[in-house]
Symmetry: C2
Subunit: 412 residues, 2 copies
């Protein structure tokens, strides 16, 4: 809170109270959104597992989600990357996005599409944050300071909802800051972001509903373990570059060549169902949580990560609704697990390293990857995670799933 009163101009106590209450409200909304999303997507995943033929309905379900977006007057291509662009440009986030992405993700996962609910949580959080922020008539806390930008309320909602879903309030706040590239308008409100995120986290903890990633044992220090961190980091850096490039390329090619989103969603659904059926890849459907749990228990085939990554690029590239973050976690963990045996390191720990390193490289948000990893796997894992993430980030090209990272912006 130091910087608020640091420079002259005087603090407006009414605005301090407003910001405080807004943070609590955004936290509550974020937690509610996270819980609704978790329940809905888990139901979809269970139905998809029970009735495998739902895969054949994926083209129709994809078409339904595009039509829903049209009915809600949402831009057809509004995915996480375009939302992040809006955040950076301080554009408005439409309130209808929250129900839209919730239903869209439900439909995609119901048909077995390889998408996650984490990026959907970001989108819901942004949409709800912007909505919840309106009645508070937020203004700068310091009198005479420049007006509060549009993006602030959305960013607060994102931090809250993501923090609740992952039980990782610190990483989630850092993630939003990195996505906003430490824009001063967002960065000066870190206290509000943290408050909202911790409030949402607290509510989610009470209910226990969210994405519970299993803890793994952190091995004692050894030099082979350090080598393993570097190896996993290098592999995840390369794979993250390919994934980020592939997803951006797929989205661009589909938007240009296919054009109409309805046709793209149906075509994507047909292709996805055809490939899954042809190769018997039913196990790679959905968010990937079972695969992630498997990897963190030490089970992963050598090429599993590539299959999951390819299917995710296909599903998201063709505009099926859903998020990219949980698939990224899964891909990273599968890759890390597959590399487990190289130096004799424990495969589960190697999977945890892969999760953080791949996410950091592909999203260009290394600090968030480190903090989330530490919050999920415990502080004892932090030094190893830091090494793996740093190697992955440094060893990858700056083609992020959500655009360039902060570092390259600063270098300009």
């Amino acid at each position: 809170m130091a910087e608020r009163g640091a420079e002259g101009g005087g603090v407006d106590p009414s605005q301090v109270v407003r910001h405080f209450l807004f943070a609590l409200a955004a936290g509550g909304a974020g937690a509610a959104a996270s819980i609704a999303l978790s329940l809905a997507v888990d139901l979809a995943a269970r139905l998809s597992g029970r009735f495998p033929w739902l895969l054949l309905a994926l083209p129709a379900l994809g078409a339904a989600s595009v039509l829903l977006y049209r009915a809600l007057k949402l831009p057809a291509h509004l995915a996480t990357d375009t939302l992040v662009d809006r955040l950076r440009r301080n554009d408005r986030v439409p309130p209808a996005l929250a129900p839209g992405i919730l239903a869209g993700t439900f439909l995609t996962v119901l048909g077995g599409g390889s998408v996650g609910k984490e990026a959907a949580a970001l989108q819901m959080g942004a949409s709800l944050g912007a909505l919840v922020g309106r009645p508070f008539k937020l203004a700068p806390v310091r009198r005479g300071a420049p007006a509060i930008p549009q993006g602030y309320a959305a960013a607060t909602g994102m931090a809250a909802c993501f923090g609740a879903l992952f039980f990782a309030p610190l990483g989630s706040t850092m993630f939003v800051l990195e996505l906003a590239r430490f824009d001063r308008a967002v960065a000066r409100h870190v206290p509000t972001l943290l408050l909202a995120s911790f409030a949402a986290f607290g509510i989610a903890r009470l209910t226990g509903i969210g994405d519970v990633i299993p803890r793994i044992a952190v091995p004692a220090f050894s030099w082979p373990l350090v080598v393993q961190c570097v190896l996993v980091g290098l592999a995840c850096g390369a794979a993250g570059t390919v994934f980020g490039t592939g997803l951006r390329l797929a989205r661009r090619v589909v938007r240009r060549r296919v054009g109409r989103p309805l046709v793209a969603a149906v075509a994507g659904g047909l292709l996805f169902a055809g490939i899954v059926l042809a190769f018997g890849w039913q196990g790679f459907e959905g968010t990937g949580m079972p695969l992630l749990r498997g990897a963190l228990a030490g089970h992963a085939g050598g090429a599993d990560f590539a299959v999951k990554a390819g299917l995710t690029v296909l599903a998201l590239g063709f505009g099926l609704k859903g998020g990219e973050i949980m698939p990224m976690f899964t891909v990273g963990a599968l890759l890390g697990c597959a590399l487990g045996g190289l130096t004799g390191a424990a495969a589960p720990f190697s999977a945890a390293l892969g999760l953080a390193a791949f996410f950091g490289a592909a999203s260009r948000c290394p600090l968030a990857a480190l903090l989330m990893g530490a919050e999920i796997f415990g502080l004892a894992a932090a030094p190893y995670l830091a090494l793996a993430v740093a190697v992955a980030y440094a060893g990858s090209r700056d083609v992020g799933v959500f655009g360039h990272g902060t570092a390259s912006e600063l270098a300009r």
Copy 2:
């Protein structure tokens, strides 16, 4: 007829009459099959053009054809290549194949799948020929000669049905001889094959129902035209190698990796529909007759041949029912047409060269390609066709759609 009485043993007059009548019966049956096939597939193509959404039903239609084969107790993988293998090994051809492939091709073309009816005509002809041959109790014309092999009646039916469909009785007889690799058991019956083929051709001519490929103008001799023949031959040799290898590989991979034919047909239908929809390739659906006419009128995009070839490999590789010959003609004509401008040769004539050259290279039946080409485009075109086919055959690897060619068998 010289060889029949050449060596001693005496001729059985009753068998001469039987063979003669069988040839006429096979010709009638072949013509009837060709007409039924043409009417059915043309109807399917018209429906597919009128109702574009039928593309989305391709997975279901593919599944239906697999289930139909199961109900008819036909082997799931019985395609033209396996049928030709049977012919070569003198195995039995099941009578249920005729209705099976008729209905299967109808269903695939109805859903827009890229398959032809020519190979279906071969299969129907073989099945009907074998059936029609039974009551004639055919035995060797020469007393004491080795027994008539199973494959003979089937081969006669193939020549008849194919000759009727294409109005090309000479090429069709040569095609069957080349497919049988001039096996003596078949080759010594050339008179019967020709009689059946011409009888079927005559009936088809009267009705006018079959595949009418438009004639094109044959240009006057010029050296650039000779260069064009060599160029088209080289290109078709290379493309034919890729196509033949691709189709054999696709079939092998799908049979091994996917296994269950029902799953493969559904997956293939999904993939086909997805790709066509994604890239807007609706014009490449079906047998390709409209594309072929376009190419022979001088219209073809530079990469059209590759698209048609790829879609055909996909459809047939995944076990959708139908034939490979008309797609081969189309691919060759599109390639030839695209190469038309290189030496200033007329694009339609270049398309005709491509048709024959690509078919000769991909099927490993160059003499049939030449004869068919001459029958379709006129005798004046024969010298140029011969050059293009010879270059294509010599310049391609011996990986035929229906297995190795005769030449490599003789070389063993």
